[in-house]
Symmetry: C2
Subunit: 273 residues, 2 copies
């Protein structure tokens, strides 16, 4: 059996009781660590589980899936994913490959930012399409996420913006020379995301329009950091303030509210600094 | 401290390790049981927790919140919610009331159908607004959810349809006579939801239009039952087949796909009975 087990958002203890029971009795335990990031070390997991945890990077999952699946017909393999196993990535490739080989799978769900963002007090069913905001470079400044935010706002809907994570990046030089030397991981902050949004808003006003759904420097946003952990921080402020405020260590996400119901507005008042 | 603790989707063991630790050391433990439904008995929770669990119905939470909050400044109170604490309802009233009284709160997140629906293989960020399908009666057949589904499909987005739950309903007679006698709980099945959708599609074709985003009896839907439990069932079929298929005990949800990416289409093939 191949078990997909969500680890939730915080540290080792955010696994479910069932998930922990399964991990303890599995023959091999892999940790997917390229689409999301553990806020605790692998060692902390190993202490709680009382066993070795094998790190599975993108190369391993995409190119050596058979290594992961080896023996899964007769024995139990756990594939751990931060958040919910099917939150950011569906891992459909791995599921399909397992099925081809006649290996059954089961899922142990957990919280992910996609539902935990409800902690802001905004109703989940009032959210429209989720968008991703990528790191801009000098020459590459895609802004199609802005149009999606506008489309949601046009329908009165909130937008959850997932912020870019760069893991195992190679510098251009190392890439060209084929050296597997990786840059330190980078996580976009709400401050950076707000700065990019401001640049779109301020510099492209003419091209984008200024109607009421469009963002302005004083538009209300909700910055969230480390949701689900002890150091969680929520801040309701203007886009301009967000672009000037450091919320500390990752992971961050940004919410652009649409039309607020009374209770939602009351809730957002709670996070005003 | 007031702890909001998600119980996840399955049985008692779907609480997180952290959540269980907190419940065990709290002075009082309440279980909110009107917006969602436990798939196990309260007794099963009490055995795992080693302590009493107090059922909190809507009346209690809305009218006697102070009873729940009593002593929470000095001691720890747990408020358990099936799924994620801020999934279906934000419980903002309770949070605001606690803050007014200077009682801090913390949230222990968990899976809810809002993110666990990713188990279908459909990407969460491709979902548009979530809709609720209510039980129709002889004389009351609201269908505004259909327009929302069409709006999502028009943008290529999937729609998660949450299906009606009726708990603590009173018959008209008992309501008039002021007798607190309640009907057995009712849970809408994917079969009933599909039947209501078919009625809209077939009877209102002229009024609603027949463009490509509109549903037809042979449109593809994904029926899900008991997500996150041992008896979970997923079925990809036509709307017509869904209206004729019994997926067994609750809870059910229905997904109306929008535009499918290749991997999403491959994933849905897995659930073709």
């Amino acid at each position: 059996m191949l078990y997909f087990i969500g680890l939730g958002l915080g540290d080792a203890k955010d696994i479910t009781v069932r998930g922990l029971e399964i991990v303890k009795q599995c023959d091999r335990v892999y940790l997917e660590h390229y689409t999301s990031i553990l806020t605790c070390g692998k060692e902390e997991l190993e202490i709680l589980y009382g066993r070795e945890v094998i790190l599975a990077d993108r190369d391993m999952v995409e190119q050596s899936a058979d290594t992961i699946l080896e023996g899964a017909k007769e024995s139990d393999i756990a594939f751990l994913v931060v958040g919910d196993p099917f939150g950011a990535t569906t891992h459909t490739d791995l599921v399909l490959r397992a099925r081809e080989q006649g290996i059954p799978h089961r899922v142990v769900h957990n919280a992910s930012i996609m539902n935990a963002i409800g902690c802001t007090g905004l109703q989940l069913y009032n959210f429209g399409e989720t968008v991703s905001i990528p790191f801009w470079t000098e020459n590459w400044k895609p802004d199609s996420f802005y149009d999606k935010i506008m489309k949601n706002r046009d329908s009165g809907q909130h937008t959850l913006c997932l912020l870019d994570i760069k893991v195992k990046e190679q510098s251009e030089e190392n890439l060209i020379k084929g050296r597997k030397i990786f840059e330190p991981p980078r996580f976009m902050s709400t401050q950076q995301a707000a700065q990019q949004l401001l640049e779109i808003v301020v510099n492209k006003e003419q091209e984008r329009g200024t109607g009421s759904v469009h963002l302005k420097p004083d538009s209300k946003v909700v910055c969230v950091a480390r949701v689900g952990t002890e150091t969680q921080k929520l801040l309701t402020c203007s886009l301009l303030t967000a672009s000037q405020t450091d919320l500390g260590p990752p992971l961050h996400s940004l919410v652009i509210p649409g039309v607020l119901h009374d209770l939602e507005a009351d809730a957002l008042e709670m996070w005003k600094s």
